[in-house]
């Protein structure tokens, strides 16, 4: 291969990596958590830990609550319970806001305000929008990060001279830098299909956002028409006369018959109090890879079928990639694989950052430069710091009083404050490191903090809700038990990492004592 090309790719890989790795880690970490977002919801919203309902009725359960909660709303949306979420999610628009409450279908009881955004409301949107809603900045930032990831993957393959020879290479006994490089290479190469597909599909999911300028050019002011055409949706203007809804349960039964089986994902009612109300019944894609919801639209007033959705060939491709990315199907084996691979991706990104620091440490120490310490501090906050902030948020979720106004937002702000703290901490350590050159102090301390916080989160969950592993496991409450077990595993791994960081000598370091002496 042309050495000039390899050199250029090496340059691109190094600097794109340094610039984007924190954001990439954030996206992959939040994405990994989102694989089990509903389970995290159960952990963070104890009121929703109810039994799986046998039958679901829209007319008897959802409708009375929606009539009471949102009589004037233009859109009602009801997500039906399923294996991973035993409660009914009842939502409606209130002006520009979209509000949601949970209903226990077994009793028909409206559950109290959750007081938490949970996995679906905090971690999942963080994964794809960074919670930056203004002018879709978050989505565009994600696009840039995704393109950077593609460039990193391709340049990584090009610069790896012995990609096949090193396919199975891991040398933990060699120097820290060598072992880190091996972990970085092995985790990248063996999961290359996953890294590539997950990044590409992430871009494809938001194609309508990224093509907005083109859409505006084609459709002008009627940009909404595109999604109607693409998703083959029906829209009907309100008659502005009041009307009564026919039985939605009957429409659901009819839709199921049309699909030839399968459950309901969501029922959405537009202009519910109007004579021209429409009812969209979506199928849950539990049995296929593609995120195809096969919506049937009914006339709300008389239950007549207005439209049956058939996606275009282009949209079928888009829905396939969406499904591949978002795992809407029931396949626990694949779900756990995605979780494990997401964690490996995080390790790949973190080791990339460590390599940058480690490669420059000895040289910069000799030259008296400090930029590697800044990058090291950012790397600590951008990797372990995110874990620490997440655990602090989980602890806050158990300590903040129920029913407190703005509780959900406060949880979110606690996350960001903790994250800021995890940046401040390694920066102080970097300042102190002028005298003690062991740059691993901040890593070690945050690893210990993660271990303690993870244990504390499990203990608090047991104390506050009474649901501990010994109780939830026999009861089959696997969402709560699984989250607790993953937290316990996190604590063990964090403690092992912290101990290893304490034991292993720093390669090329002159030793603290001699440095202090030299400084004096």
């Amino acid at each position: 291969m042309n050495p000039g090309l390899r050199h250029s790719m090496d340059y691109l890989h190094t600097w794109a990596g340094v610039l984007f790795s924190v954001l990439l880690f954030l996206v992959f970490f939040m994405g990994t958590l989102s694989v089990f977002d509903r389970e995290i919801d159960r952990w963070m919203m104890p009121d929703t830990r109810v039994a799986q309902p046998q039958t679901v009725s829209f007319d008897n359960i959802a409708l009375p609550h929606l009539r009471q909660l949102a009589p004037d709303s233009k859109l009602w949306s009801v997500q039906y319970p399923f294996t991973r979420e035993p409660v009914m999610r009842v939502s409606w628009t209130d002006g520009d806001e979209f509000k949601t409450r949970f209903v226990d279908v077994n009793t028909g009881r409206l559950l109290p305000e959750a007081g938490s955004k949970g996995g679906t409301g905090f971690f999942f949107p963080f994964h794809y929008s960074f919670h930056l809603k203004w002018k879709d900045v978050g989505y565009w930032l994600l696009a840039i990060v995704s393109i950077a990831m593609m460039a990193l993957l391709i340049s990584g393959v090009i610069i790896h001279k012995k990609i096949f020879a090193d396919f199975f290479t891991f040398r933990p006994g060699k120097s820290t830098q060598r072992a880190t490089l091996d972990v970085h290479n092995v985790s990248s190469v063996l999961l290359l299909p996953f890294h590539f597909i997950i990044t590409l599909s992430g871009l494809i999911i938001f194609v309508f956002i990224y093509m907005k300028p083109g859409i505006a050019l084609m459709y002008g002011a009627e940009a909404g028409k595109l999604s109607q055409e693409a998703f083959s949706q029906v829209s009907r203007a309100p008659a502005k006369e009041s009307g009564e809804l026919a039985s939605v349960d009957a429409m659901v039964t009819q839709a199921k018959a049309m699909w030839g089986g399968g459950g309901v994902r969501r029922v959405a009612i537009r202009n519910p109090q109007d004579k021209h109300a429409t009812v969209d019944v979506q199928r849950r894609p539990h049995d296929r890879m593609a995120y195809e919801t096969h919506t049937v639209t009914f006339d709300g007033a008389n239950g007549a079928v207005l439209h049956r959705q058939d996606g275009s060939a282009t949209m079928t491709v888009q829905r396939f990639f969406t499904g591949l990315h978002m795992i809407p199907f029931d396949h626990w084996g694949l779900r756990w694989m995605y979780f494990a691979m997401g964690l490996v991706s995080c390790v790949m990104i973190a080791t990339g950052m460590l390599l940058w620091v480690e490669k420059r440490r000895v040289r910069q120490e000799k030259e008296g430069r400090v930029s590697y310490r800044m990058v090291n501090a950012i790397a600590v906050a951008g990797t372990l710091g995110i874990l620490v902030a997440t655990l602090v948020m989980l602890i806050a979720n158990k300590l903040l009083p129920d029913g407190m106004p703005g509780r959900a937002s406060l949880e979110q702000w606690i996350f960001f404050a903790a994250w800021l703290g995890t940046l401040f901490h390694p920066l102080t350590r970097a300042w102190q490191a002028r005298h003690c050159r062991d740059i691993r102090i901040a890593w070690r301390e945050q690893a210990w903090a993660s271990a303690v916080l993870a244990l504390l989160a499990v203990a608090l969950n047991a104390m506050v809700t009474g649901d501990h592993v010994l109780r939830t496991l026999p009861q089959g409450a696997l969402a709560v038990a699984g989250t607790d077990l993953v937290l316990l595993l996190t604590a063990v791994l964090a403690a092992v990492t912290a101990r290893r960081l304490s034991k292993r000598p720093l390669a090329g370091s002159h030793g603290t004592a001699s440095l202090v002496k030299a400084a004096a």
Binding site: P172, L190, L191
Partner: protein, 116 residues
């Protein structure tokens, strides 16, 4: 047909296949202190490893269909490969024994799964 037995057979075949491919690598053999292979032996290892992985893929497709099967197999092969690579430096005999065992048990599970 028992999907569970076939899925287990697929996993074991993938583990054995990854191990065989790992042990054909000259640099890996050198690191592990194993004797050098002749070209013919190396080709035999590559063919065996590939055949085991092909059997694993075919079984995954048989259980889960094409889309799920291929996706699951890719994920499974990647994760098992990682587990193998990270285990190998700490216990080569353990990896060898587990791979031999997997290669012996996988066909039995696949046969039992088809017959059941």
């Amino acid at each position: 047909m028992s999907p569970l037995l076939i899925a287990a057979g697929s996993t074991l075949a993938a583990w054995a296949g990854m191990a065989v491919l790992c042990f054909q690598s000259p640099s890996q053999r050198h690191r592990l202190g194993l004797r050098e292979q002749t070209r013919r032996q190396q080709q035999g290892f590559i063919a065996t490893g590939s055949a085991l992985l092909a059997v694993s893929l075919a079984s995954a497709i048989a259980v889960d269909g094409v889309s799920f099967g291929v996706t699951l197999w890719l994920c499974q092969a990647g994760i098992l490969g990682l587990a193998l690579v990270f285990w190998l430096p700490y216990s080569m005999p353990g990896v060898v024994r587990s791979a031999r065992c997997a290669a012996a048990v996988a066909p039995l599970l696949l046969a039992a799964g088809n017959w059941w």
